[in-house]
Symmetry: C2
Subunit: 130 residues, 2 copies
DNA sequence: CTAAGCTCTGTATTAACTACAGAGTCAACA
DNA sequence: TGTTGACTCTGTAGTTAATACAGAGCTTAG
């Protein structure tokens, strides 16, 4: 299968596929005489794995570790679980930070009259000298 | 005040201050004969405004708009409130996305025995052919 | 055989900084 | 006055995870 077809099956842009090859997440595929990349099912599975992991918010480096474990064939369920749990904790932290942010912003902007005068509590809150 | 002092007062790295000058968020300060930047109180206030806004998650471009409104002197409370509300909505969306993510990951990883066998539901979920 | 459509490489861009290298400046102290 | 150490300067490159080209070459249906 050529890169365009892989792209459709994996729901991943062509440039991204080439990018993953360059950073060595995807193995180099065979080429036609003309230089076109030719992929097989195992490339597709691997690419789907990568995309799914990205969608779950794993970084490329997380994924590299996961793939190395899988490639090595020596991974244990525990290895994987540790990575996942760390990631879940990161996500929870982000959620908590964003909630704080939202509260602060909502509080500031609720004081705002929303009229056409040039007095604005939001600006005051941001710009005040202390 | 020299850049190091400004940096301490505004809690902002020196490189970042120079960066803000380069992208024209901060006005160019006067210089000593030797070429050192010399700042005054109004630079400090502006830098604090920028840092505070960044901490609240506004983008540089958001801040540029806010500052232009303030600089123009013609802003209205309503102008500012619209920007803030849009931003609050963006944050709520992000929180909701992250919560979904967290749920999915928690669900997958709770199936994981966490033992030393090479069978792992996390990998299976990511790597399965469909 | 030709034209449309696909793919190639390589480089530049995005956001918001951060991290140097190598040079120059300033202030205090002897 | 000389020197040392701390500070600052410019300019460039790196970070993350792609995305967006230009300009060339390949493939295949008709």
């Amino acid at each position: 299968m050529k890169i365009g077809e892989l792209s459709k099956h994996a729901n991943c842009k062509i440039e991204t596929i080439r990018y993953y090859e360059k950073i060595e997440l995807l193995p180099k595929p065979l080429r036609t005489d003309g230089g076109y990349r030719i992929y097989n099912e195992s490339h597709l599975k691997r690419l789907v794995f990568i995309r799914r992991s990205r969608e779950l918010g794993f970084t490329i480096e997380d994924i590299r570790v996961l793939l190395q474990l899988v490639d090595g064939g020596s991974y244990s369920c525990n290895d994987i679980k540790l990575i996942a749990i760390k990631h879940i904790n990161d996500i929870r932290q982000k959620i908590s930070d964003l909630k704080k942010l939202e509260k602060t912003l909502s509080r500031i902007s609720s004081k705002c009259s929303g009229n056409s005068t040039p007095e604005c509590p939001i600006i005051d809150a941001l710009y005040s000298s202390k």
